[in-house]
């Protein structure tokens, strides 16, 4: 399952916080449409590179990076600074 929502939360020294819910699921259709549009060009580029004896598998790299994005679901970063009395929390759901 790809990540759907990114939750950002910042709490400053006065104790005031901002919470942001970023709907990543809205980016996925755009990304996939872009990928479908660019895929023929990438394939041509890969063929040209192969002819030039350059071992760069562009299509595999693009899908690998896409998979990397998909696997980011569940990532969480929490930073609590005493010096700056602030709290940052980033969660990918």
């Amino acid at each position: 399952m790809p990540p759907w929502i990114m939750h950002l939360r910042f709490v400053n020294q006065r104790g005031k916080g901002i919470g942001l819910w970023l709907p990543i699921f809205l980016a996925w259709p755009i990304l996939i449409a872009l990928l479908i549009l660019l895929l023929p060009l990438v394939c041509i580029a890969e063929i040209v590179l192969r002819i030039c004896h350059v071992d760069l598998r562009l299509v595999s790299i693009i899908f690998g990076l896409l998979w990397l994005c998909v696997e980011m679901r569940g990532m969480r970063v929490v930073v609590n600074s005493r010096r700056h009395q602030s709290n940052i929390r980033i969660t990918i759901h």
Binding site: D55, S60, G64, E71, M72, G74, V79
Partner: protein
Amino acid sequence: MNEERKRILKMLAEGKISAQEAEELIDALGQPAGPAGDAGQSAKAKSPKYMYVKVTGNDTVDVRVPLGLLRAGMRLTSLIPKQAMDHINSSMHEKGISFDLNNIKPEDIDELIRNLSDMEVNVDSKNGDHVKVFCGE
């Protein structure tokens, strides 16, 4: 009735164990079991999902990284062009790290991740910070 159960009842009859102990032993025998199934289940249960990095001290940092990300990253290394891979390996060798990235095969990654469950790194720094890296559910 299997052998273990018979032996427990015999020990109870001989007064070697109490009724409570016998019940506990029989309960333990009644766990879902079969050696192969057990091993499979424990291997599945042991496979960690996340890697945690926790820093405590002046500042607190808590990072949870899905191990699937590691798996995806490792697979990406197989796409690095040979020339670049040779350059990486020689640079690492120069720094004293005798580690060949070509030796990492995608089929070994799952085993590597499974074995990470036993790993725990604890670092205590002079300024009072404590870093703990471990893998878990």
